[in-house]
Amino acid sequence: PHLRTFTDRFQTCKVQGAWPLIDNNYLNVQVTNTPVLPGSAATATSKLTIIFKNFPECVDQKVYQAEMDELPAAFADGSRNGGDQHGANSLRITEKVSGRHVEIQARYIGTTIVVRQVGRYLTFAVRMPEEVVRAEEEQGGGQGLYLCLRGCPRSQQIDVQPLGGPPGAAAGSAPAPAAAAAPDTFPYETAAAKCKERLPVEDLYYQACVFDLLTTGDANFTLAAYYALEDVKMLHSDKDKLHLYDRTQEAPGRAAAAM
């Protein structure tokens, strides 16, 4: 999947299997990614588990779990709020589009999470105060080794060249490592045209869209990139940083240090 970290770094990663997206004193988010095509390095998110940890006086521990073709509008215990404590409604799930789009407001930690199913796969977006992001560091316990903070490990990053033109053209090249296994993908020009319809700005979301179409031939990924950008527009606090143009590939650790 494509990852935009808390420090606005943008990477395309393999991260097959279960990985932590967020892990701090208040919240644990884990994703499971599966190959989109047999033998492909490219994976997409097929399962998402969010644990809101117990917060005294406000919410009980709550678990939210979504899988392919099952995007519930409730926590695992069937409730839609934070339980029985006095501030239970500071945690709430809202269904925006049945089975397709839910929003979780965790007001007690100033956090908003958006989960969507687009096509077969899931997308995730979060808005969180820096203080909450750093909560693990303050407690001095964890290592902060999670994707939203540190990005993907170098070994898990897919080297996507700038997609400035068709495969083999001087301006860019196809995402060779992942595209090799795709049997029925679009020609570059068709993929670019489809992405341009939804994503007129040729930023990294547009490039991610082209990459996904070239890799899988699944047009639903156009919508995944489009909604990911829509979520950024809703959740990002700096409106000047909505569009990103430079991909990040660097050793893990620098991203967190930059914060």
Partner: protein
């Protein structure tokens, strides 16, 4: 700054029994609660710098430890028991839901709790293949 949470945890931990009357006979449970309170304040030290409630708590802990002859080293209090579930509401909004509560405590509103300084928000997203 989460000093109010430290305060409320301490008061919850010590409300069930009287504090020791004399410094000659320190109550182990009270001292353990104090050590937990001190640990909690140390964890919030960075974000609470300059906060009056925080500095009051730090001084208060020092005083109480001295008054009750508590050692700084030793066991801390066990985790606070969870709030027992309330009786089910008459007309729940959904399965397992609680009734609407318009008067959530301030501690459950991050922006109110963080006070006048404006929080900086960050974003993370994952999508596509």
């Amino acid at each position: 700054c989460k000093i109010l949470k430290c305060n409320s945890d301490f008061w919850s931990a010590t409300a069930g029994g009287p504090s020791p009357a004399s410094s000659d006979d320190p109550a182990p449970e009270f001292c353990a609660a104090l050590r937990t309170y001190a640990l909690c304040t140390r964890r919030t030290a960075r974000t609470c710098r300059g906060d009056l409630a925080y500095h009051s708590a730090v001084h208060g802990i020092e005083d109480l430890m001295g008054q009750h002859n508590c050692s700084r080293e030793g066991p801390t209090a066990p985790p606070r028991p969870r709030t027992p579930p309330a009786p089910p509401p008459a007309a729940p909004a959904g399965p397992g839901d609680s009734q609407e509560r318009a008067d959530s405590p301030e501690v459950c509103h991050y922006e109110q709790r963080s006070g006048p300084r404006r929080a900086n928000y960050t974003h993370c997203g994952l999508f596509g293949d």
